[in-house]
């Protein structure tokens, strides 16, 4: 169990409202006592030490903090952690198995879909949400699906290639 986080709630024991939440993160049930104003991004990063979820702009613009919430991409800086109670969250840490990368991760590696890597977790989860719904997207559809995720390095070309590569690989069924 994770308790209150210092940066959010001072341990002075005043009347800070605290809620118990239970969230399934990457298939594992986790519980935490949190203040309602704690953002989901910070529960993941500071509470559960899942630092693959990045916080970039903190103003709902950049998409670096994107996670899947019940399978749908959301900006975890723009949801309160308390709202995830009873729901399922998938972060980038949930993509690979112990021995194998997810095809989307493999695609980013093979097609050089990242440079500094800061936007990459968000990109990959938006891509996953797209491919879960549409296994055979056009380049336009990939660009459209990723249009809420900003990258300052790549110019997007290789990111799009990486997603299309992954789509093909997933369709071939070479990796589940």
């Amino acid at each position: 169990m994770t308790s209150l986080f210092e940066e959010v709630a001072p341990s002075s024991g005043d009347d800070v409202p605290v809620r118990r939440v239970e969230v399934t993160i990457n298939g594992q049930r986790r519980a935490a006592d949190i203040e309602p104003r704690l953002l989901l991004a910070h529960l993941l990063r500071n509470g559960f030490r899942l630092t693959g979820t990045h916080t970039g702009c903190d103003t709902t613009n950049c998409g670096a903090c994107t996670v899947l919430f019940d399978g749908q991409p959301v900006k975890s800086c723009t949801m309160f952690a308390v709202q995830a109670d009873g729901h399922e969250v998938m972060t980038v840490e949930g993509m690979a198995t112990a021995s194998e990368l997810h095809p989307i991760q493999e695609g980013f590696k093979d097609e050089h879909g990242l440079q500094c890597g800061f936007c990459t977790p968000g990109m990959m989860l938006s891509a996953k949400a797209l491919l879960d719904e549409n296994p055979n997207p056009t380049e336009d559809e990939v660009r459209w699906a990723l249009s809420g995720n900003l990258c300052r390095c790549t110019g997007y070309q290789n990111i799009v290639k990486a997603v299309l590569w992954a789509a093909e690989k997933l369709r071939e069924g070479e990796v589940q």
């Binding site: 959010v8 800070v16 409202p17 809620r19 203040e35 309602p36 104003r37 704690l38 953002l39 903190d58 103003t59 709902t60 613009n61 998409g63 994107t66 919430f69 749908q72 991409p73 959301v74 900006k75 800086c77 723009t78 949801m79 309160f80 308390v82 709202q83 938006s126 459209w144 699906a145 990723l146 249009s147 809420g148 995720n149």
Partner: protein, 294 residues
């Protein structure tokens, strides 16, 4: 960035939610999609003491046409539900055109149609669509429900006529008597940016001529603009060049854009005229290629 401290409640029924709002008074706020409210709370533009999360209230996530053609959108219908809807394009072409242009794809999975109208941002896309379609918001309070036309519902920038103990439970678009046509166009510097300018056009066509028209303008005034004269110029016409030009000129004339980093006022007026023309021209072309209705 953290919002100031608040009490959080997630009731399971609308009645409970309304009772909570009543207890919280002016310091209480409804949380639906939260894609405008949460950023504003983080920036401390809004600091509600009580947040009433309606996401756990069942039965509010619908969008549907009733048997009589009335269209209803529940308070928890997300932008993405509309974007992915298989029935929306046939039922509500103006809404279908706007749905993929709201914010960005990630925000669309969470943000709600009704919440966007309640946020009453003059840059909001859905308020223009609602204006064009003559839509209403249904507000539920301790005394029951009332319906308010969107024009009256939005009282000014970021202001509505909702009482502190009322929840906007659905948006209602009246049934059409003719065949629906229309569109939405928005100019934005990049996906997710505020609109430089946007135009919603909703028409009803009967026997090749326009029987009803509505035009809403986004981001070119202190509130969403209802371009009534421009719309009136279309009624009775068969969308000839003259009628389209008149509507475009009137819409641009009624817009009140301000020069800023997104463009000069003149430029934005020009965009409004161009968008009105483009949408109407597109409707006209689709009409001539589509088989004539009996």
């Amino acid at each position: 960035m953290y919002p100031s401290r608040f009490r959080y409640e997630s009731p399971a029924t609308l009645d409970e939610a309304i009772a909570l709002l009543r207890s919280g008074g002016v310091d209480a706020k409804v949380l639906a999609g939260g894609q405008s409210l949460i950023p504003m709370m983080k920036l401390r533009f809004a600091s509600p003491a009580l947040l009433v999360d309606i996401n756990n209230i069942p039965g509010l996530d619908y969008h549907r046409a009733e048997a009589d053609g009335t269209y209803r959108i529940g308070a928890l219908c997300r932008h993405a539900d509309l974007e992915k809807s298989t029935t929306l394009a046939a039922d509500q072409p103006t809404m279908a055109a706007a749905a993929p242009l709201v914010a960005d794809p990630i925000v669309r999975t969470r943000g709600t149609f009704v919440g966007s109208v309640c946020h009453a941002d003059p840059q909001g896309d859905w308020a223009s669509v609602m204006v064009a379609l003559d839509g209403s918001i249904v507000a539920q309070g301790p005394g029951g429900r009332r319906s308010v036309k969107v024009d009256e519902f939005v009282a000014g920038p970021f202001q509505t006529v909702l009482a502190t103990d009322e929840i906007a439970v659905e948006a209602v678009i009246p049934a059409a008597s003719g065949t629906r046509a229309g569109g939405y166009l928005k100019l934005e510097r990049r996906v997710g940016d505020f609109a430089t300018a946007g135009v919603a056009v909703a028409l009803e066509l009967s026997n090749g001529s326009v029987s009803k028209a509505g035009i809403g303008l986004t981001g070119v005034g202190a509130s969403t603009i209802n371009a009534t004269d421009a719309a009136a110029a279309l009624v009775g016409s068969d969308l000839g060049d003259d009628a389209i030009e008149r509507a475009a000129t009137l819409a641009a004339g009624v817009s009140q854009p301000r020069s800023d980093h997104r463009g000069s006022a003149d430029y934005k007026r020009h965009v409004i005229a161009t968008f009105v023309t483009r949408i109407l021209d597109n409707v006209r072309r689709n009409q001539t290629t589509a088989p004539k209705a009996a």
